[in-house]
Amino acid sequence: MTQQTQFTKAVGNASEINELLRRYGVKFGIYKNGVFNEQFFPFDPIPRVISAEDFQSIEKGLVQRVNALNEFLFDIYHEKKIVRDGIIPEDFIYISKGYLAECEGITPKNKVYSHISGIDLVQAKDGEWYILEDNLRIPSGASYPLIARDLTRIAAPQAFEENPIIDNRGYAELLKETMEHVNCGGARAILTPGRYNAAYFEHSYLAEHTGSVLVQNDELFVEDNILYHRTYSGGKTRIGVLYRRIADEYLDPLTFLPESLIGIPNLMEAYRSGNVGIINAPGNGVADDKGIYYFVPKMIKYYLGEEPILKNAPTYLPFYEEDMKYVMEHLDTLVIKDVAEAGGYGVVFGSDLTKEKLEEFRKTIIAEPRRFIAQEVIDFLDLPILENGETVMRKADLRAFVLSGETTKVWASGLTRFSRNPDSFVVNSSQGGGFKDTWVLSR
């Protein structure tokens, strides 16, 4: 019996826990045909189990990766040694939508750029873990396993009595420490675009649990390069650290998109002056670009002088002639990703395309080689889920959360998302996926 199968029967039934999740309003928002709907995020009660030994290796690998990515970000916005030394072609930096010239020369407090990194991994059938992508801008999802664990412990306490599961409920404390590490003096705030954002539940839940103020842009203003929260009595409270949950380009209309209605004028000046910490740092998109992903193992060697502990999925860049040749020859077996897309969009499996579509796609790749990456389809481990009382197997990934404060720490948990469609590899909640608890064993 595999370890996963052994735990299949360990937790309570799906309806009990889903009822509790419903009661606590665990939802995500989704826009369909321009209409906003809130949906309950389907939870599967069979946990993903990660052995202590596996986690130890994942933890080391993730700390190594995130440390290298933080070094890379500092380098890119300062000396760009990695480009000068020919490790990464400059095309990949300056063409990247995530590279922001406005961030040149800015050094965030304590040199941390990616305070909260969401690293997506999959486990192959041979047990090997692969990194699928890095999310260094505003990775979401930590609140779901956090509240699910709380509720699972209510619904099935025996599972936690009988199994050596590391308690994951310290995430908010970890996040608070991370925020405090870059606090420039003042209150902690979480900036949300508002109730109609897909991740609003998470914004409000994390604000509640970290004791931060949940704010929208019109409650904030910058005066003399200091960020303030406007209070209802007409006063102001200084904000020392802002965990923003809006994209870079909308953050400050005077620096980025002038048409942004959700930003804070002059925020970047306050940040540049070192008067407010912004989590994650603006400009991080250059490091989690799907094109840059290819170079992360090289970054680890370059900045840390170490061999990468965790592997990337085998990836090809049509930008390189040799890789283009391989991609053209194997297009029908590869998965092609549009580097500008996220959330499971812009992902095409060659095997799903008709002959005509394949040819059409081939031409697009040749015309815009920098726009795509191609990856081998990893035959990743299916996980059991309960469907109508039956156990069925589905594709699943793991988003691990790595928090960089005084030191870099991996949260002993994560968001395991699964596809509810038996023929799909796409696990994103926006595309109908569900989630399950992730148990990291202590021994």
């Binding site: 509240i147 604000a207 931060s212 103020v213 409650e219 209802y232």
Partner: protein, 233 residues
């Protein structure tokens, strides 16, 4: 936490008002349901309290619309939705636990809409709202935040009780409760009362005779209680 924005103070106030409106509405409709047993088309006294026209086919249509129709701005369902809309953006102030009672009320109301014995199905809703208020009391440490919600709650209750012609002794008690909450509001904040309108209320709600004679004027003053006063120099 110590920092409340204008937007959140407004949400807190309306959370209090809509939750109370929901609660008082279900209790009033439950009583109305009892009054209507065996009497056809007997709900006009309820509609008159709010100056509403009779657009209902029969007793059943009236009770179902006023309880469950989210598109009817005078229904319990509408008030609960608005309470939830305000509550959901206040999670970090009121707590996930408090919010869960509003979600539970929504689910229970939906279930009640599918049951024939409406009155019986409404009973758990009263329990849930009592729990919600208990949770608010338990989880909110900031007196200012709690007081804004309570101002909304007591003002709404007083408004409804006056409109529904509740006995003077009950209205008087609710007015005292509102005054206690108003006295806790710091100067210079939006829920600082207008002296002019509070004086009118004190005058009218000071005696049973005035209350009976000038209830409409009391409701009007309640509606203007937080108006900024003109300052003459």
């Amino acid at each position: 936490m110590g920092t409340i924005s204008l937007e959140h103070s407004d949400r807190l106030y309306w959370l209090g008002r809509y939750t109370e409106r929901f609660f008082t509405t279900i209790k009033a409709l439950s009583k109305q349901f009892d009054k209507m047993i065996g009497t056809a088309h007997s709900y006009n006294d309820y509609l008159d309290c709010f100056g509403l026209p009779d657009t209902y086919m029969d007793n059943k249509d009236f009770i179902r619309s006023l309880l469950f129709d989210e598109n009817n701005a005078h229904s319990a369902a509408y008030s609960l939705e608005r309470a939830y809309d305000n509550g959901i953006v206040l999670r970090e102030e009121i707590s996930t636990d408090s919010l869960s009672f509003l979600q539970m009320a929504k689910d229970t109301l939906t279930k009640a809409g599918k049951i024939d014995n409406v009155r019986l199905a409404l009973l758990p809703l009263e329990d849930i709202i009592y729990s919600f208020w208990g949770s608010i009391n338990e989880h909110i440490f900031d007196d200012e935040i709690r007081n804004i919600i309570y101002i909304g709650k007591t003002l709404e209750r007083l408004d409804l009780y006056i409109r529904m012609k509740y006995p003077f002794d009950i209205v008087e008690k609710e007015f005292v409760r509102l005054c206690k909450n108003l006295n806790r509001v710091p100067k210079g904040t939006p829920y600082r009362y207008s002296t002019k309108h509070l004086s009118v209320l004190v005058e009218i709600l000071g005696s049973e005779e005035d209350y009976k004679r000038e209830a409409d004027r009391a409701v009007d003053s309640l509606g203007h209680l937080f108006e900024t006063e003109e300052v003459f120099v």
